[in-house]
Structure formats: C-alpha cells, structure tokens
C-alpha cells in the first residue's frame, strides 16, 4: 500500500466534462457526434469538471443519487462515451482520445460489469460462446483447447459450474447471470474493473454472494475497482476510498473510514443520515428541502445550494473548489472552508 501511494495513480481523471445535447434526441445517439455542440441548444450537464484518481489495488467508490452523473463517469472511463472536455489517463497513458485500434491493448486491461444481468448477456449466445468470444478475440493465436481451459478456469473461479456452458442466459437466475457476466469480464485477465451498480438489481442474499465474489477476485487477481453505486452500506463495506457526486460535481472525496466517521459536506451528511438503519429507530435524519434539480443549464455557484441549509450569497455565486482537509479528504464546500457548518449546528 505504501509502495502504491508513492507511484502514479493507475487511473487519473482530470477536469472531466460530459454534456449531452438535448435537442438531438436520445442521449445514446449522441456519442457519434464527437462532442459537437451547437450554441443555442440546451444540454444536460451530466459531468462537470470532475477530477478523481484511483491507485492500484484500490476500490474507488463513486456514490450519488440518480442523475448525479456517476454512470456517465463509468461509461466515460470505459470508453463507451467520449468526454466533452478533460482527460482520462490510465497507467500514465492518455486514453480518452484513442482510436478503436489504439484502445485494443487497453480493452484487455479495463473491463466493465453492468447493472442489469438480464441485459448484459447476449440472450442468443450460450454461456460457452459468450465466454470464449473475448478470449478468441484478444488471443487469436490461442488453440481451441487453450481457450476452453481458460474459460473453464474462469468459470470455476467465479463459482459457475462448467457443465452449464451449453445453456443460454435465460435459464439462469439473476445472481448466476451476474456471476457469468463477471466471468466474461475476467476471461481477458483485466487489472481494472469498472462496476456500474453491479448488485443493485439483485436480491439481498445474492448481493452478498456477488460482493464476496468481487472481493475474492480483487485479492486473488490484484484488481483495482471503480465501483459505482447508490448504496452507502455497500460502499462502507467494499470501498477503500469514496467520491460523493451531486449533479455532476464532486462534493467530497475521502478514505471510506474517514467519510463514514467524519462526513464534512452537508450533502454527504444528509445522504448518510437518510440510509434506513436496521437496529435503532432513525437517529437524526437530516431533511433536505426540495428535490434534485435537473442537470439542464445548471445555475452558477454550488450545485447543492438549492437544497443546502448552509447556503449563503457566496454559495449562490461562486462554485466551490475541492479543498484538502487535514484528515486527507477533499471537500468542495464554502461552508466547510469557512468553518460555518459546526458553528451553525452549535448555535
């Protein structure tokens, strides 16, 4: 860990921005426009000037509510979307402007696990076909036996019985499908996995199975994760560091333990207090006024100002920058910077 801390981070996101043009219909069709934006059109500011880094062996969790841009960050890093501005570096190499061919070697290193195991496997392919395809594609010289051995090894490592290989995805339950999807990502021996809400479509008892599987894979294969989720209890368990997103901007980045024991940003505090607790009745739920505004034509100033109890004139006019705190976390909040939060709470 100390060794990893001295070197460069494995993944570096610098001032990343992504805007989706609204007046051209569906978001999905937009990536082919190469970020060409017409001046007068409205656009969704999905990601605004985000900078993050993930070190080797880390599980960086990105948390936030719907519309905060967390999935967009995942898709930008995976190369499924092209950023409007900013840079993504992986292992010291800039990757956001690579061609498909230039991206090929990195495809083996960066893999992605999706939210919905019912949609992430091609329904017309057997499990064997789905798992062998990436191996064949990335190792064209491998013999049929080698491919088969590789697939069997991966299937065993994720707890999928190799005798299921002839079956189709619809014959499996959600948890089994998610195992298969993980196996598919692992067939190319990646070192970095982007997991976009990998367990939120699963049942509670299955969530534990899949989370354990991902932890095992992390230890045995030395994986680094970018873990996208809305579930804070999973973050506390799984993440080594957490980034809290609100309306496409980073509110707070901290080590997991620091964030949960000493949350600083007003939004982080509200989010933590809102998680339904099992044992005690709700201690003190911080009620937020209003709801998340739409990320279309964002107001200037702090994105959280409309719901924040501590917002003042400065918050409405100036967007806060992320500032290093003594305990190593980064917080983007004027109130924290000016030390207004606890003064108000005390008074």
């Amino acid at each position: 860990m100390s060794d990893a801390k001295t070197g460069r981070p494995l993944l570096e996101i610098r001032n990343l921005e992504k805007r989706f043009d609204l007046d051209h219909g569906f978001l999905e069709t937009l990536k082919f426009r190469k970020g060409k934006i017409v001046r007068e059109s409205r656009s969704v500011h999905a990601v605004n000037n985000i900078s993050l880094e993930a070190r080797k062996g880390e599980a960086l969790c990105v948390v936030g509510e719907s519309g905060c841009g967390k999935s967009t960050v995942a898709r930008l890093v995976a190369g499924l979307l092209t950023p409007t501005a900013g840079e993504i570096h992986y292992g010291g190499q800039r990757i956001d402007n690579l061609s498909r061919g230039g991206m090929q070697p990195l495809r083996k290193k960066i893999q992605m696990i999706f939210q919905n195991p019912y949609a992430s496997l091609n329904p017309r392919m057997t499990i064997r076909q789905a798992l062998e395809e990436p191996v064949r594609h990335h190792y064209p010289s491998a013999s049929a036996a080698e491919v088969r051995d590789k697939v069997t090894e991966v299937m065993l490592s994720v707890g999928v019985d190799p005798s299921w290989a002839k079956r189709y995805p619809h014959e499996f339950s959600g948890g089994q499908r998610q195992r298969i999807a993980i196996a598919r990502a692992l067939t190319v021996d990646p070192e970095f996995i982007i997991a976009d809400e990998p367990i939120s479509a699963l049942d509670v008892s299955i969530q534990a199975q899949v989370l354990n599987l991902m932890l095992e894979a992390k230890e045995s294969r030395g994986l680094t994760y970018l873990f996208i989720t809305h579930d804070l209890s999973v973050v506390e368990h799984f993440g080594t560091r957490v980034a809290v997103l609100y309306l496409g901007s980073v509110c707070e980045v901290a080590d997991t333990a620091t964030l949960f024991s000493n949350p600083k940003h007003p939004y982080t505090r509200a989010l933590l207090s809102a998680v339904p607790q099992l044992k005690d009745d709700r201690p003190n739920h911080i009620r937020l006024k209003g709801e998340i505004p739409t990320p279309i034509n964002l107001p200037k100033g702090c994105p959280f100002q409309s719901r924040c109890a501590f917002a003042d004139a400065r918050c409405k006019s100036e967007k806060p920058k992320a500032i290093h705190q003594p305990d190593g976390s980064m917080v983007a909040c004027h109130a924290v910077e000016e030390d207004r939060l606890d003064a108000v709470a005390a008074g």
Partner: protein
C-alpha cells in the same frame, strides 16, 4: 376484531405444463391501524400476497383456496360491484412505479376528481377541494397548480407523494404498499417513509408494506412476516425479528447485510438461490441452503410454532438456539 384476517390463502398459477403454487397456506391478521411488513426476496410471493388481498390477480394466477376477511367480509367471494367498492374506497394500493398508477394523458386533478366523484356523491368543486386538502396532507407545495399538471411534469418523489395522496383520497382502512420507495433516491425515500408513517399514525390507517429492504421494514412497521418460496416462515414483532431472528433464513438475510460485517471482510452469504415455483424442494423449502438441515427438514414441511416472541416454521429452531447459546458461552 381485526381489520384483516387471512386464513390458509393458497394461490396457484396455471402454467403451460403444470400448475404451480405461488402462495401456500398463508395466514395472518392485521389490527386496525397496524403496520405490517412483508419481507422476502423476489419470487417469495410477497407481491402476489398484496395482489390477492385486493383480489386483483389476473390469469394465469388464481386464488385456489382460503379466506381473506376484510372487516368480516370475504374478499374472495365478493362480486365485481362489491370489489369495486372495496378497492380504492376501503383498501388502496401503492405500487413501486408511480407511472403505472398514474394515467399519463390525464392531469393530476382530473385523476383525483374523477376517482372521488366515482365513489362519492360530490360536486366537482367539492371533489376539487378534497383533492387539494389531500395534496396538502402529503406536503405538496401549491397544490392548486399541481392539479393542472400532467404526471410527466413532476419529479419522481413528487409523483410518489401524489400516489399516496390518491391512495388516501377516499380515507381507506388499509393501504397496501408494494415497494413504495424502491425506485426513489435515498434522501427522497427517507422523506416518503416519514410521510407514510405520519399519515398512517395520524389517520389510524392500516399499512401492509411489501419490501425486500429490511431497513425500511425496521423503521416503518410494528410487525413483520418473512416469506420464502410462497410460505410465511417467520412472523412477529419487527423489533424481535430484526434483533433476534429465529429462522435460519431470516438470520442469513440479516447477517448478509454489509452493515453486519467488518468492512473488507467477507460478507456472511447464504449459499444458493431461492428455488423457482416449479421446483420447490420437498420438506422445508429452505433446506438445500440451510446448514442446519436434517433428514426431517428434507422430508416434512415444518409447522409454524410459537418460539419465544415470534412464530417460526423451522424443525431445528430448538437445536439452532442451543447451538447459538453454546457459541456465545464459548465466546
């Protein structure tokens, strides 16, 4: 007298090749104004229970046997006219996805006023006033304006509030809420939960909360049923079930939550999957996933017995408990 009393409810689905049993002998009671949670994973039959209570099952599902006594009257035997009077009027339902319940081409006002006028002898203006009062009750700002809006113009949290307002429109005795907050964000979910709790308490409305989320159940309900593969396997006061679950499945479910483990450690997972309705194992349905399973568990379905504070359907609950005591003594 209890508000709702379900006795030996059995629901079957006529599938292509065979008939499968989705609910198997469900019995429970609900007192007036009581809040009951039904917990289980997908396929456990919790949503089907909700639908059956309103006699809303559609083909291929049907109520095979059993009674659902609502204020002493059997819902299963009701004719269409009486059912219409029941639904919405005395029993209301809230679904996970508000867009399923709201008609996208009608304004909020039209939907609320039509509903009121269909059930009560009211003038349009009176109905409008009641609608505004109800919207105010669920803390919707400027309700007069909302009445003119279409569902798609509102945010998810606002829609779910309106759904709750519509459910409360005719002052029902019982609200059945099927995963009412699952589609919402955490901060909104907390608000909606508080709102529902407050409304149920102040209006003495019974609540059946169907959810997979133990945290939600823990905060919202007084009593809880835990379902597995179409049966109730454990029931009792919510506090007791959360703090001291008796059935190995309930224990597994609670222990599997990330909060229950030191960060970074393996979670305590339950192996395997819930069986499909067509392949429920003989004996206790949980036996293939249970570490305490014996030959008896594999051959005979356990009866529900009272054990301490809760009712539990498990052959081995006695042994399980002594086992735990021994472990605790050693530790």
């Amino acid at each position: 007298m209890s508000l709702l009393s379900v006795r030996d409810l059995t629901v079957k689905f006529a599938m292509r090749d065979q008939t499968v049993t989705a609910l198997n002998g469900i019995s429970f009671d609900l007192a007036k104004g009581e809040r009951l949670g039904i917990v289980g994973e997908s396929g456990a039959g919790k949503s089907i229970t909700g639908f059956s209570l309103m006699n809303l099952l559609s083909r291929p599902g049907y109520i095979d046997s059993g009674k659902i006594l609502f204020e002493g009257e059997d819902v299963v035997q009701m004719n269409d006219k009486r059912l219409r009077n029941l639904r919405g009027n005395r029993m209301a339902m809230i679904f996970q996805d508000p867009m399923v319940t709201l008609n996208p081409v009608l304004t909020i006002g039209q939907q609320m006023i039509e509903t009121l006028m269909a059930h009560r002898k009211l003038s349009r203006e009176e109905a409008r006033q009641i609608a505004i009062v109800k919207l105010r009750e669920v803390y919707i700002p400027s309700p007069e304006e909302r009445l003119e809006q279409y569902p798609h113009e509102l945010s998810g949290g606002m829609r779910q509030r309106i759904i709750i307002a519509i459910a409360l429109l005719l002052d029902p005795q019982l609200i059945i809420a099927d995963e009412p907050t699952t589609a919402l964000d955490v901060t909104i979910q907390a608000d909606i939960m508080e709102l529902m709790l407050e409304l149920c308490q102040s209006n003495q409305v019974g609540l059946i909360l169907i959810t997979h989320d133990l945290g939600v159940v823990s905060q919202m309900t007084e009593r809880t049923l835990v379902m597995y593969a179409g049966r109730i396997i454990e029931s009792g006061r919510t506090r007791e079930i959360i703090n001291d679950p008796q059935h190995p499945y309930t224990q597994g479910l609670i222990n599997a939550l990330p909060q229950q483990t030191v960060p970074g450690q393996r979670l305590k997972q339950i192996p395997g999957n819930m069986p499909g309705l067509a392949s429920i194992p003989a004996g206790c349905a949980f036996n293939p996933r249970c570490k305490y399973a014996t030959d008896l568990c594999r051959s005979r379905v356990p009866e529900i017995v009272q054990y301490g504070e809760v009712a539990v359907a498990c052959h081995e609950v006695q042994r399980l408990h002594s086992d735990e005591d021994r472990q605790e003594a050693r530790a």
